[in-house]
């Protein structure tokens, strides 16, 4: 006999919702058509809580909580879009835009970029801090794919999909802080990798133009992500 899944009732903005006790606020909000911005989070991969865009307010708590890992609680009152969080989200986006180089007009992902889309949806009109514009390399050594560090926001979707779904763990992060970079094997050229299976999952989940297919020009890189929910559902069913 398995123990019954308990149900919790809570309130998100002005909506009363009920959720399974193991659900996160982000999941239950999504099920109820309430949009919470998120970037590092993607359905089918483990939560990282790195981008901090899904921060929400919880009544009675002075702190902000990342919805992607916030477990539902009975009687909880969540506010997903207060003026306070809206302002912080815009500033976090500004920081991301200022970190490397995100000139959309010349980017392969222009028009199909998660970062760009969020900036539009959150009304980020300008970047108040100086652009840092570090000179970063582009790795085009792979036969089919390109890695452009200048567009990377270190969301680690590539790292997680490669580890959790493909099982290769070709990607990881090196260094730390502002000098952190995604790497392949021992920070080697992609084309020389012995562990990369060339499956391309990392390219498809990448939210920006940091990972793209060769042969596309600006605005042409459209990512196909259906495989992720498909694979995770299939694997669940097999268990």
């Amino acid at each position: 006999m398995t123990s019954p899944v308990r149900v919790k009732t809570l309130r998100i903005n002005d909506l009363d919702v009920s959720a399974r006790e193991d659900e996160t606020v982000l999941e239950i909000a999504r099920e109820n058509g309430i949009w919470i911005p998120s970037l590092c989070e993607i359905e089918g991969l483990s939560a990282l809580s790195a981008c901090r865009l899904c921060l929400v307010e919880v009544k009675g708590s002075p702190r902000l909580h990342p919805a992607c890992v916030l477990k539902v609680e009975e009687g909880m009152e969540v506010f997903t879009n207060s003026e306070r969080v809206a302002k912080y989200r815009r500033m976090i986006l500004e920081l991301m835009f200022s970190e490397r180089n995100h000139i959309c007009s010349v980017c392969v992902s222009n028009g199909h970029c998660d970062l760009q889309a969020l900036a539009q949806m959150l009304d980020m009109t300008h970047v108040e801090m100086p652009y840092r514009n570090p000179a970063l390399s582009v790795d085009a050594s792979h036969q089919r794919f390109i890695l452009d560090h200048n567009r990377c926001i270190l969301c680690q979707r590539c790292v997680r999909v490669c580890d959790e779904i493909e099982g290769a763990h070709t990607w990881d992060l090196m260094g730390r802080g502002i000098n952190a970079r995604v790497i392949i094997d021992l920070a080697e050229p992609w084309g020389a990798s012995q562990t990369c299976t060339g499956c391309g999952k990392c390219v498809q989940v990448c939210p920006t133009g940091a990972l793209s297919e060769k042969g596309v020009s600006s605005g042409e890189m459209i990512k196909k992500r259906q495989f992720l929910p498909y694979l995770t559902t299939m694997r669940e069913a097999r268990r």
């Binding site: 990282l48 809580s49 790195a50 981008c51 901090r52 921060l55 702190r63 902000l64 990342p66 890992v69 477990k71 912080y88 500033m91 976090i92 920081l95 991301m96 200022s98 970190e99 108040e128 801090m129 100086p130 840092r132 926001i153 270190l154 992060l173 260094g175 730390r176 802080g177 502002i178 000098n179 952190a180």
Partner: protein, 410 residues
């Protein structure tokens, strides 16, 4: 007082719940910086139902200007091991780790000797003191990463991974090392355990103030006549520490500020020298107790430069996982560079405050959440120094080298 006598007495006379009750009565709060009540932490781990539990000692004393833990580890490592073993008995753990900085080779050496000795004498390892209680301790060396002082990063590092923090909850008391319930306390906290067991929680609670019990060890350094380690009762004033114990400022110079809490703390100016040193007062002043570093600064220090120093530290110690800390600390640091080289603008100050607020509120872990403290506290007490750098391109303490218009015309 014989070595390990408290442990042997505990094993003989006390039930685990009684140990935790004494810890709770003592009012001891974690000496690593955050000040979480130790008894409460232990009772959470004790209540957790899990076949495996761990005790971890945080000896990754990362705050620059703090060397309290080093002195304990080098001079009396047994006391720390004894405290850990008592903790293990109280919560039902049988395995522990000491995570110690590789930069402290002597401490590492003496810890290894102390562990081997205790194992030989049956005071660590299997069936301690002939009882059914077993507790094994091993060392893990840190690798020069300040963020590993954060408990979830430290646990990741013991597991052989990058020291990147993860969101809490779950707290280590519920899911810690290898996802098992884990006590994690710092060196000084564990060192306080044996005397509490010997003399009772009530004895300990009589020292200190209402909400900050017992004594605290501080590392007094900087521009002060007597530098070194001091152990003082909670509630003593900053003036007593600096002017009496520390013997005042050398060379007849003026006291300017005292920095407590390292890169996560703040600078406290002369007008607050009579504040009592306890967790609440220091927080109220915009600083923190931290692990106990106390750096005295005189008029020859520029407070903007000091803020820049700490921000450089936080920027290069940020693990890089969350965006606000990774990019925010870099932007704040670069802004402080502009102010100290004479190219800052009045608008920078407003943006500086906004960025500090953002990094403090939205960062994933304590490193980011506290990184703005040195900037915010100097902005609060020494705003005029920032303004002088920006408005007349001059550094009052003559520390910063400004490309000033004034210099050119002279």
């Amino acid at each position: 007082m014989g070595g390990y006598s408290a442990l042997l007495r505990v094993l003989e006379e006390m039930r685990p719940m009684e140990v935790i009750e004494q810890m709770a009565r003592s009012g001891l709060r974690g000496r690593g910086g955050a000040g979480f009540p130790t008894g409460l932490k232990w009772s959470t781990v004790a209540k957790a139902v899990h076949p495996k539990k761990y005790v971890v000692c945080n000896a990754d004393e990362g705050d620059p200007g703090a060397f309290m833990d080093r002195s304990v580890l080098e001079s009396d490592p047994r006391r720390v091991l004894e405290g850990m073993a008592i903790g293990a008995y109280a919560v039902g753990a049988d395995e522990g780790y000491i995570y110690v900085r590789a930069e402290y080779p002597l401490a590492v050496k003496r810890l290894r000797i102390a562990i081997a000795q205790a194992e030989r004498m049956g005071l660590l390892g299997k069936n301690i003191g002939g009882t059914r209680f077993s507790f094994h301790v091993d060392l893990r060396l840190g690798g020069g990463a300040f963020v590993c002082g954060e408990e979830t990063a430290l646990l990741a590092s013991i597991e052989g991974k990058r020291g990147a923090p993860r969101p809490r909850p779950p707290f280590p008391a519920e899911s810690g090392l290898y996802e098992c319930p884990t006590i994690i306390n710092n060196v000084e906290t564990f060192a306080n355990v044996p005397p509490i067991m010997r003399k009772g929680g009530d004895w300990y609670a009589r020292i200190g103030t209402a909400k900050s019990k017992g004594t605290k060890v501080f590392a007094l350094a900087g521009c002060v006549n007597n530098t070194g380690l001091i152990e003082v009762p909670m509630g003593i004033t900053l003036r007593e520490i600096i002017m009496e114990i520390g013997g005042g400022i050398p060379g007849g110079r003026q006291f300017k500020a005292v920095q407590t809490g390292g890169p996560s703390g703040g600078c406290i100016p002369a007008e607050h020298l009579d504040m009592p040193v306890d967790y609440q007062s220091l927080t109220q002043l915009g600083s923190i107790m931290g692990s106990g570093g106390m750096i005295v600064m005189d008029e020859s220090s520029c407070m903007v430069d000091v803020a820049k120093y700490f921000m450089e530290f936080c920027m290069s110690e940020s693990c890089g996982k969350c965006a606000p800390c990774r990019v925010g600390t870099a932007q704040i640091y670069e802004m402080l560079c502009r102010i100290t080289n004479g190219t800052g603008t009045p608008d920078d100050l407003k943006l500086l405050e906004e960025l500090c607020d953002l990094v403090r509120t939205t960062s994933l872990c304590g490193l980011g959440q506290n990184a703005p403290n040195p900037v915010l506290s100097t902005l609060r007490y020494f705003r005029h120094e920032y303004l002088t750098h920006i408005e007349v391109q001059a550094c009052p303490a003559q520390v910063c080298k400004l490309h000033s218009a004034a210099e050119v015309t002279v």
